[in-house]
C-alpha cells in the first residue's frame, strides 16, 4: 500500500512574525522556514507504517516555490521514499492545494493520504477535508491514533468533549493532531541519503489545475497590544485587586 503525505513549508513555529509595513501580508523574507509541525507528524506516521510493513512506499508531496524542495528533503530524511514538488509562484489557497493533491493522487494511486490538520501560518484547517471531498473518500481529522487492518483503518480523533474512534474504509484521508506521535530527528546519515532520493517536479498547468486564489487579502494587521506586566506581591493583594479593581470575582 502506497501512502501519500502532503507537506507545507511554513514560517518556523519559533519565529515571532511581523506584519509588513504596507499591511499586505506577514513578512516572510529572510525568516527561518520549516516543515509545518503537523505535517512532520504525518510524515513520521507514514514512515512508521512502512517500518511495520503496513505500507510499501511513502511519497511526500509539496506545492509551492522551488524552496519547497528543501522541505521535501526533510521529509526524505525522516524516511519518505520519494518526493514530488508541484512548483508554482502563485499564492496557493487550501482549495487549490486540495485540487493539486487530488491530481497527484490520481497519478500515484495511494490508498491512504496522511497530512497535518492545519498549517501554522494561515491556520485554515481545510486542505485534508477538501481533498477527501474532492476524491469522495472518507476522512478522519485530528487523529491521535491510527490502526490499519486490511482495507479498514481505525482512527481515534481528538474532539471537543474528549475522544472518538471512527472506522473508515480505504482509500481514506487522515489529518494529524499533536499527540499522534513524536517525530524523530533526522540523523546526518539519513540527511545525506535523502539528497540522493528521487525528487520529481511538476506544475499546476501540467496537472490541469486552476490555482487562482479565491480569497483576496485586503489588509493584514497586528493585533492590539495587551497592556500586561502588572505584578502583585502576594495572594492577599491578588484577591483584593480581583475584587476591587478588576471586579471579576
Amino acid at each position: 500500500m502506497k501512502v501519500l503525505v502532503p507537506i507545507k513549508r511554513v514560517v518556523d513555529y519559533n519565529v515571532k512574525v511581523r506584519v509588513k509595513s504596507d499591511h499586505s501580508a506577514v513578512e516572510t523574507a529572510n525568516v527561518k522556514m520549516s516543515m509545518n509541525p503537523f505535517d512532520e507528524i504525518a510524515v513520521e506516521e507514514a514512515v512508521r507504517m512502512k517500518e511495520k510493513g503496513l505500507a510499501t512506499e511513502v511519497v511526500a508531496v509539496s506545492c509551492g516555490t522551488t524552496a519547497c524542495q528543501e522541505t521535501l528533503r526533510t521529509a526524505l530524511a525522516i524516511g519518505a521514499d520519494r518526493a514530488i514538488l508541484v512548483e508554482t509562484e502563485v499564492e496557493l489557497q487550501p482549495l487549490a492545494v486540495a485540487k493539486l493533491i487530488k491530481a497527484v493522487v490520481e497519478q500515484e494511486g495511494p490508498r491512504l493520504v496522511v497530512l497535518g490538520k492545519q498549517a501554522i501560518d494561515d491556520d485554515a484547517n481545510q486542505t485534508g477535508q477538501m481533498l477527501a471531498a474532492l476524491l469522495n473518500w472518507p476522512q478522519a481529522t485530528f487523529a491521535s491514533k491510527v490502526e490499519l487492518a486490511g482495507d479498514q483503518v481505525q482512527v481515534t480523533r481528538e474532539i471537543d468533549g474528549g475522544l472518538e474512534t471512527l472506522a473508515l474504509t480505504l482509500p481514506a484521508v487522515i489529518t494529524t493532531d499533536l499527540r499522534l506521535n513524536e517525530p524523530r530527528y533526522a540523523t546526518l546519515p539519513n540527511i545525506m541519503k535523502a539528497k540522493k532520493k528521487p525528487l520529481d517536479t511538476t506544475k499546476p498547468e501540467t496537472l490541469g489545475v486552476d490555482v487562482a486564489p479565491r480569497l483576496k487579502t485586503l489588509r493584514v494587521e497586528e493585533p492590539p497590544k495587551r497592556q500586561g506586566g502588572g505584578k502583585v506581591a502576594d495572594v492577599a493583594e491578588l484577591v483584593a485587586k480581583l475584587k476591587n479593581e478588576a471586579k471579576v470575582i
Binding site: V11, K16, V19, V26, Q93, P94, L95, A98, I120, D121, D122, D123, A124, N125, Q126, Q129, M130, L131, A132, A133, Q139, T141, F142, S144, R157, E158, I159, D160, G162, E164, T165, L166, A167, L168, T169, D177, R179, R214, L215, K216, T217, L218, R219, V220, E221, E222, P223, R226, G228, G229, K231, V232, V235, A236, L238, V239, L242, A246, V248, I249
Partner: protein
Amino acid sequence: MSILVIAEHDGAHLKGATLNTVTAALQLGAEVHVLVAGSNASGAAQAAAAVQGVTKVLHADAPQLAGMLAENVAALILGVARDYSHLLFPSTAAGKNVAPRVAALLDVAQISDITKVVSADTFVRPIYAGNAFATVQSADPIKVITVRGTAFDAAKSGGAATVEHLAATPDSGSSRLVSQELTKSSRPELTAARIVVSGGRGMGNGENFKLLEALADKLNAAIGASRAAVDAGFVPNDYQVGQTGKIVAPELYIAVGISGAIQHLAGMKDSKVIVAINKDAEAPIFQIADYGLVADLFEAVPQLTQQL
C-alpha cells in the same frame, strides 16, 4: 438569499458555540435559518427555533446523522446549500471537520475562524496563531465560513421559528462511528465559562491538578491546560487551550505554572483579566498578565482558594 447556520448540539440542547454563530449570521443582514442534523434531535431543533432572530429551522433526523460524520452531514448540507448565500459553522472540532468538505463540494473557498463581519463578503480572521489579523474578501457565490465563538456574543432566546423537516441523504457507508470517550465534568464548558483556571507543566503531575479543581470549584470555573500539560498526560486532550486547541476569552483567566508559549497565548490572550502564577519571574506569561504573582504555585494556589 438567506443564511444557513449549521447547529452543533447534543440532541437535546444546542451547544453554546451555535448561539455565537447565529449572532455572526445576523450581522450579515439577511434571514437566518438553522440546520439541525442528528439522530433523535427534536429537542435541539426546538431549541434552535427559540433562538432570537432565527426564522426557520431545518431538522434532519436519521441514524446516519448521529455523531456528525463528515461524509453524511456534508452530503445533507449540499442538498440545500444552493438556497443560501452563506453557510456558517461554529469553529469547533465538529464544524472544522465538516465545513471544508462542504466548501470543496461547492467549489468555493472557506473562510476559517472569522472574528469580525466587515460586510457580506469581507471578514476578519486570525492568522499565525493570532499574531496577525487578515481582512479577506470572497468572490465566491456561496460563502462557507467557520465562526470563532469568543468573538461574537451568544444570541438570546425569544424566537419562534418554524421547524421544517428535511429528508436525510443515504449513509455513505465509508465511515462509521465506533466509540466515543467523552470527559465527564460538572464544570462549565471551557469555551463558554466566565472564569477559567489553567495549569501547565509547572503542575508537575496530574494528581496536582486537584489543587486547581479546588480553586475552580470555589469560582465555578472551567479547567484548562497548556499543551505541555496535555502532552505529559496530566489531563485529557480536550483541556488544551491554544492555537490548535480551544480558544477561550473568559472574564478571568488564571494561568498556573504556565510559561506562556505563543501557541498558548493564542488561545487565551483575549481574556478580559489575566492572572499568572509562576515561580519563574522571567516567564513570558507575565508580559500579558494583568496581575502576575511570582510564587510557588503549591503554596499560592491553596492560599488563593482559601481566601476567596
